[in-house]
């Protein structure tokens, strides 16, 4: 069974937000509008917050794309009173919207604060007339989050079955990875020693967010400042 994971090279991320837009379109993520966003109500399965460090003239802006870490030891799943959020066989942390009662215990338990709640009935701008038919639209009052584009995995599996072959690397990548213009994001099976992600995850540059909590996140980051370390491009 594969163990899907992601590696994000922070050297390559220029904060363009293409992944944020791609995710929003791919997953029918509702648009909160400026007012609600200012109140902390916006939903964005992936975010690229900018962190400004230092003071003028020595100022530096850093970007760190943040999405669900799909922890191997997720703090959010244990606390769910209805088992609506759970980790599936392939290590993806999933959310069943119809059985979520909206208690927001999982959103509090997540140390990465990457679970989102639908405060209001989801809305989209009028101009947007196209929805991704593969992804369910979430009702008001439930929690949602990044699924690593799980629907793409299902599609890839079906395609591979039709073609009577095993799933290959690159068959399944989430929308954010696919859309990254600087190719800063990698996706694949962490248990496959040959895969790009498993090799990069072993790199000396690799780290994970809040690793000390023991959540075993499956999103790895490569630290900045060592752009060329002999990696195969």
């Amino acid at each position: 069974m594969p163990r899907w994971g992601m590696v994000i090279d922070l050297d390559k991320c220029d904060g363009c937000q293409a992944c944020v837009v791609a995710c929003r379109v791919e997953n029918n993520v509702p648009v909160a509008g400026p007012e609600e966003t200012a109140r902390g109500r916006a939903i964005s399965w992936i975010e690229v917050p900018s962190m400004i460090e230092g003071e003028y003239p020595n100022v530096r802006t850093r970007f760190i794309p943040r999405l669900c870490m799909h922890c191997d030891n997720p703090p959010c799943t244990a606390v769910c009173p209805t088992g609506s959020t759970y980790k599936d066989d392939e290590g993806l942390v999933a959310q069943i919207y119809p059985s979520c009662i909206g208690c927001r215990y999982c959103t509090n338990a997540c140390p990465y604060t990457v679970k989102y709640f639908n405060w209001t009935t989801p809305e989209w701008p009028d101009q947007m007339d196209h929805f991704n038919p593969d992804v369910a639209v979430r009702p008001v009052g439930v929690v949602e989050k990044c699924t690593f584009c799980h629907h793409r995995l299902q599609k890839a599996k079906e395609q591979a079955k039709i073609e009577e072959r095993e799933l290959r690397e690159g068959d399944y990548v989430p929308a954010c990875v696919q859309s990254c213009p600087t190719k800063a994001m990698y996706f694949g099976d962490l248990d496959d020693p040959e895969s790009t992600v498993s090799r990069l995850a072993k790199s000396t540059r690799s780290f994970r967010l809040l690793e000390e909590l023991g959540t075993k996140p499956k999103v790895y980051y490569l630290t900045e400042g060592e752009r060329y370390d002999g990696r195969k491009e």
Binding site: V79, P111, T113
Partner: protein, 478 residues
């Protein structure tokens, strides 16, 4: 069988041989009837003050109901909650109501088990507070759900690993046990009402379960109440705090948080004192709820205040000294940051005010105790707020920090819930005696003799004196 007859029997049954209750019983016989009338009076007649208070509370409750419908219609977006502060006033209210409930019965059960004689006038009001507050505690959680329509899914898909489920199980158990406990102790009183208020026989007759006060019934009641007052104590242990302590939020994830919610007992004593003050005044029961009751509970309140302070001090000192970065952020925002006014207000209301008022003999009056209790009640609500919100406002990843301003919907519903709670309590006090008639009567009939016998049991060398009954009285006088 008439009540008078059954009270005779009870006197005989409970007093046992060799005690001088029969004479005291006949001496006080006339007063028994008065006592019953005093305590039944609030049920028989309802003054204008009651209706006036009830209508004000009714308006507030109706406003709260409107706010709830508004929230149901538009979703939780009508609250001030956001990411990352996913929990706010509703969860604070939940912990608060569970807090005052988790101890109402505990106080009554512990005092009963300790055979504290002064309990007799306060057990009923404490037990009633427990059962009613529990419903509002459970209600607060339902208010907080994004999908209250799906709440029953917990029964179908319940995940036992979730502390919320532990809560549900423990609260259900506690509600069941404390309801039975309340009801058991009500049965003899309901039988009195059944015999005295013919127009409400339809209500009291089935509820009295054919109570006649026979010797066998008395024995069964005594045993079951005894068993229930033991059972209720483990069921009352605060589990709700584990909802917070189990997850790795800074300052929630600590071993002290479970026992810290023993503050529940603290808040319950305070709430009980307020309730007693109101009952005493409104129903003219000054002769039943005497200054000694307020003094005793007031001293208990100060004791709990000091324990609470020790817990708070321990929790914060540990965090400060340990110096872990994420915990420190929460610590400083609580003590010196945006939550500092709330935190220090809690310290004033929970420690300084009760200590100043109650440790001073001159201010340790009924009014003084109630003022201190009022401060503690407000303080314990604030304390829950400063536990729930600052931790959520400062999550581990700093760029998700947030602020929380409760919306009018949340305030309205909080006010509405409080009003509804008081209203239901008032209505219950119109249906059932708010001071236990039979326990007071039992006290008058047998307590003196029982206490005497108990004290005699402590006294060294008493058996020798007792063997010579002729010198008994002389020994006592010396």
């Amino acid at each position: 069988m008439t009540e008078g007859k059954s009270s005779h029997q009870r006197g005989a049954v409970l007093s046992g041989p060799g005690l001088r209750t029969e004479t005291s019983h006949s001496r006080y016989a006339a007063h028994f009837e008065d006592a019953e009338l005093d305590l039944i009076q609030p049920i028989l007649t309802t003054g204008r003050g009651f209706y006036r208070t009830a209508s004000v509370l009714g308006v507030v409750a109706a406003w709260g109901l409107f706010a709830w419908l508004y929230q149901l219609w538009y979703g939780l977006g009508t609250t001030g909650l956001n990411r990352p502060i996913y929990w706010g006033l509703y969860v604070v209210n939940f912990v608060f109501f569970i807090g005052i409930s988790h101890a109402g019965t505990l106080i009554s059960a512990i005092l009963r088990l300790c055979q504290a004689e002064w309990r007799r006038a306060i057990t009923r009001s404490a037990e009633m507070m427990t059962v009613i507050a529990l419903f509002f505690g459970i209600g607060s959680v339902v208010l907080d759900l994004g999908r209250p329509d799906r709440v029953l899914l917990i029964f179908r898909d319940g995940n036992i690993r979730s502390p919320l489920l532990w809560d549900m199980i423990s609260i259900t158990a506690y509600l069941t046990i404390s309801s039975i406990y309340l009801y058991l102790a009500l049965i003899p009183d309901i039988a009195i009402l059944r015999d005295r208020i013919p127009r409400r026989r339809w209500l009291y007759r089935p509820l009295a379960l054919g109570w006649t006060g026979s010797e066998q019934q008395q024995r069964y009641l005594k045993v079951t109440i005894g068993v229930m007052s033991v059972l209720v104590i483990p069921a009352a242990l605060p589990i709700d705090s584990w909802v917070f302590a189990m997850i790795i939020q800074p300052m929630w994830h600590s071993t002290i948080l479970g026992p810290y919610f023993a503050g529940a007992i603290f808040s319950a004593i305070a709430a009980l004192l307020i309730v007693m003050g109101v009952i005493r005044r409104a129903y003219h029961l000054e002769d039943y709820l005497k200054p000694i009751h307020f003094t005793n509970l007031g001293l208990l309140l100060v004791g709990m205040s000091l324990i609470w302070f020790y817990f708070t001090f321990a929790a914060h000192l540990t965090v400060y000294y340990g110096g872990a970065a994420k915990e420190q952020t929460v610590f400083f925002s609580k003590l010196f940051g945006s939550y500092a006014p709330l935190f220090w207000a809690t310290m004033a209301t929970n420690v300084v005010i009760p200590l100043l008022i109650i440790s001073n003999r001159r201010t340790r009056t009924v009014t003084g105790t109630i003022v201190a209790a009022g401060a503690v009640t407000v303080g314990m609500w604030l304390e829950r707020l400063t536990i729930v919100v600052p931790s959520l406002a400062n999550p581990r990843l700093p760029y998700a920090a947030g602020v929380y301003h409760p919306s009018w919907v949340e305030w309205s519903m909080t006010a509405g819930f409080l009003a509804m709670f008081i209203l239901v309590y008032m209505l219950c006090s119109k249906l059932f005696p708010i001071v236990s008639i039979w326990e007071i009567r039992e006290g008058r009939e047998t307590a003196l003799a029982e206490a005497r016998e108990r004290i005699e049991g402590y006294l060294p060398g008493w058996e020798v004196l007792r063997a010579r009954p002729a010198r008994d009285d002389r020994a006592l006088q010396n």
